[in-house]
């Protein structure tokens, strides 16, 4: 099977932009409703005090920080993966990159709201920014939370640019095909794109620079998120493995999120001819590698704690391994390691359905992983008199769940306004065989065998 080309690409990929079905309004209404519920719950929390949550002495971080780390992790789907695939010139990446980069942008926006939601006085969140104030006080640059602020803002800016740059030629296509107000809006977004060789050259250069620049940023972001924990003298937090462990976990959950999004797009936007089993197969293999890497990190972290045998660390260790949190812990191991190994390791199961089931498991498992890093340690900190346990309350559960609705809403709106697959990159692939005969031929073969 060959990939569609030319005008068929335009027709297929621009269809959601020009034709609006009742399904779109239904989806926006449902997800918008969920987001509104979450926002109003947050207002309620800000008005009535943080006491409506389950946070208590001594477990001062719970669902919100878990969700923060989770969403920042999901954000590693896009930019990082698409940047790497771009740099190694993997031909099969073309239909995947944009939906991945969109996940990054939206997951970062959602993740970045959690530190504000979780603040005791969210209306003062701007004090994290170094602005010239009359009190002559700067933020404390020794605090990992300030590092977070800068890292996430850098990553958000970078990944939005990285998302936007390759859309410019597609915006121009939409501009040329539309009239009236739509033409004006897309004209502005296309920034005067005419498709001259000079423009193409500049675009390619800019994307190359962004692809190289965004990788260290992405790695540093989740390392710095891990510093929120590893910089504090809390049993099992204060460890050097957290940086790479978090980065690996982030990419792991990111790919899983991407696979779920791809499967949904494929189904709802009828992109069966673009998002091929080949893409799921390749990303499935990558997911399998990350599952093994994740297992390696967890094994290391656990074994070193166990062998070190420090009383305070061991208290937390046994609490997760066989105590209160054991059911969650073993669910996590099953979801993150056992399930992917079976579904992705055995070729017969590595189908689209298999990949999606494994991905859903991984998303659940990675959420649990963050919860299990944060809560058991805080509840078991040194002095037995101050041990405690945390249970979330409905407002926390509503707000944390509503962010999944927010993700879906942003994604639906994005897919409605932007071709979700990079049209010009697909078309460019038609002209590439002369330049990269090897990779394209292989890609065709793989596509044939799976289709």
């Amino acid at each position: 099977m060959t990939q569609p080309s030319g005008s068929k690409i335009n027709d297929d990929l621009l269809r959601p932009l020009f034709h609006t079905s009742w399904r779109f309004f239904l989806l926006v209404a449902v997800f918008g409703g969920i987001v509104a519920l979450g926002l109003s719950t947050w207002m309620w929390q800000a008005r009535n005090g943080y006491g409506i949550t389950g946070i208590k002495w001594p477990v001062y971080w719970g669902f919100y920080i878990t969700s923060f780390v989770f969403w920042i992790g999901i954000s590693h789907a896009g930019t990082l993966i698409s940047a790497i695939l771009r740099l190694v010139n993997a031909g099969w990446r073309r239909p995947v990159t944009r939906c991945a980069e969109a996940i990054t942008g939206f997951a970062l926006m959602i993740g970045a709201t959690f530190p504000i939601i979780h603040l005791g006085r969210p209306w003062l969140a701007f004090w994290l920014a170094p602005y010239p104030s009359d009190r002559l006080i700067w933020p404390n640059f020794r605090s990992p939370l300030v590092w977070d602020f800068f890292a996430i803002n850098t990553y958000l800016t970078g990944s939005l640019l990285f998302l936007f740059l390759p859309i410019i030629p597609d915006f121009a296509v939409v501009r040329d095909k539309s009239t009236g107000l739509r033409r004006k809006i897309y004209g502005a977004l296309a920034m005067g794109w005419r498709g001259t060789p000079k423009q193409w050259h500049r675009l390619e250069t800019a994307m190359q620079i962004m692809a190289v620049a965004i990788i260290p940023v992405a790695v540093s972001v989740h390392t710095i998120v891990s510093f929120d924990f590893s910089m504090a003298p809390v049993p099992t937090w204060n460890t050097t493995i957290f940086g790479p462990y978090f980065v690996a976990g982030a990419i792991f959950s990111g790919i899983a999120g991407l696979l779920i999004a791809m499967a949904l797009l494929r189904k709802f936007l009828r992109l069966e001819e673009y998002l091929l089993p080949l893409h799921f197969d390749n990303l499935g293999k990558l997911l399998l590698v990350m599952a093994l890497l994740w297992g390696y990190f967890v094994f290391n972290e656990r074994l070193v704690t166990y062998y070190g045998n420090e009383p305070a660390h061991m208290a937390v260790f046994w609490r997760t391994q066989s105590g209160t949190f054991a059911p969650l812990y073993w669910t996590m191991v099953t979801c993150n390691f056992v399930l992917p190994l079976i579904l992705l390791g055995i070729r017969r199961f590595r189908t689209i359905t298999g990949c999606v089931i494994a991905s859903i498991g991984i998303v659940i498992g990675m959420w649990l992983e963050r919860f299990l890093i944060i809560v058991p340690a805080l509840g078991h900190k040194y002095l037995p008199y101050s041990f405690g346990i945390y249970r979330p309350t409905p407002p926390e559960i509503i707000i944390a769940s509503a962010t999944f609705g927010a993700m879906c809403l942003l994604y639906v709106l994005f897919a409605k306004t932007v071709p979700i697959i990079s049209m010009w990159e697909l078309k460019a692939a038609d002209h590439l065989p002369a330049k990269h005969p090897h990779s394209t031929a292989k890609e065709q073969r793989l596509g044939d065998s799976h289709a």
């Binding site: 006080i137 933020p139 939370l145």
Partner: protein
Amino acid sequence: MARWGMAADLDRCNGCGACVVACHSENNISTVGDEQASRGRAKHWIRVERYWEGDFPDVRLKFRPVMCQQCDNAPCEPVCPTYASHHTEDGLNAQVYNRCIGTRYCANACPYNARFFDFFNPSWDKPLQLQLNPDVSLREVGVMEKCTFCVQRIRGAQLQARTEDRALRDGEIQPACVQGCAAKALVFGDLEDPESHVSRLARSPRGSKLLEDVGTQPAVTYLARATQV
């Protein structure tokens, strides 16, 4: 410059809890009500920890009053993004309520769990609202609070000494918990002055710091219990 410190003689502490009550009334610590207290929202800047040793019937009960240890190397300070938690020149871990945005990072970093979050705006079980201390600011919802070594009393005594043009006398400053302790288990003073009562106790062979191996260098010395009861 002084370096404020405290000594807690566990031989003298009988766990009566007078220090807790004195602290609450001195520092305007709001009572959160029994329902919220049962949910873990009670704020006790000083608490008396009870530990049992041995098996029945040879049980020994130990009390340990735990307040903010005013660490020299305090984990709560570097993690605060807004400098709400910072070190004063005389070695106190100050908490600037107006600067706090409520990330609660300091409380997580504190190995002693000596920091408390205000989940609601302050309120008191009647008639406690009638005895608020005008020297201590109230804390609004969403900030962290903790033991200050009764900084208002320290500053008051320093001011008094300066107006009278004399040096501070040892024992002149008494935080509320020290004043309230009938058994005289708690001693407060200047650790820079080698002759002060607290300095002599800090050098005692019975002395040790709480969670010394975490490396926080606390200003509170605990004198181990020597008597068998």
